[in-house]
Symmetry: C2
Amino acid sequence: MGAVAERLGVTPMALYRHVVNKADLLDGIVELLLTEFPAPTLEDPWTERLSRLAEAIRATAQRHPGVFALLLQRPATTRAARGARDSVYLALREAGVNEERVAHTERLISTAILGFAVSEVAGRFKDHSRRQLDADFERLQGMLAQFIDSEVAEGRRA
Amino acid sequence: MGAVAERLGVTPMALYRHVVNKADLLDGIVELLLTEFPAPTLEDPWTERLSRLAEAIRATAQRHPGVFALLLQRPATTRAARGARDSVYLALREAGVNEERVAHTERLISTAILGFAVSEVAGRFKDHSRRQLDADFERLQGMLAQFIDSEVAEGRRA
DNA sequence: ACCTGAACACCGTTCAAGT
DNA sequence: ACCTGAACACCGTTCAAGT
């Protein structure tokens, strides 16, 4: 509260006119983080859109290392969270994932990417070089692409 | 500090004889969390060992929801962390993963599982039923098994 | 060697009072 | 309508003093 108030040139008490408490303020920050992710588009192929989204998530984590971990701790039920999720839903449908499989596929993909991004900025990979982490992230995306393929294949079989 | 001290029937100040500060105490807690994971064995097939480890990680998260997220925030360089990692290394080698691929494969697997477990206990999946989460976790393991297979295949090709 | 009381800095929060 | 000062509870930490 103190840091935010100072940036606004105001005392901490002034904030309570605008947020109910610290948790509420943090929820607002999470909402802002989510708006940094690119909005759903239809122009490019879905593979490209998903990998751009993945990179954007990672970049947002690096820009806001102190708060990014909150994304794992708040239920993704807000408007901005819904927007980010819809972006993935759209791509998955376009990839050919069955409608009943879209939701859980998105959950796994998002979890894996958020988990990596949080680990990276929160310090779990502190001893690894940037090159190594870039390579890992690339492979992570490969794993997820492969997973999407298998979901599509399983859907066709049903 | 207060809560720990109370459980020990002692004042908070007494703790400073045993830990240098709160961060140090939290590091110790993380170390304890890691020891809850099953030690490496060679008895059962590696697939079974990995899935037992995955379940153990998830169960530990559920037992200690207040501190489990710390696992993403501390570099995995302590003795207990090394032990947990070696357990996975062993299984991956047995699966046929090339030696130069073992490390990054472990990183991706651990990240995905920790990311899921943290999301679950930290509240991100608050609106999902237990059944749904169980099914998701099952699928997550399927995805990782598939990933290991592909790593083995790529290793053979090289 | 280990623990405690007093004390301090810091931080989230409330509330009456100011403009 | 919005901000502030005073005040409070809480918490991590230090240190001299106790056993």
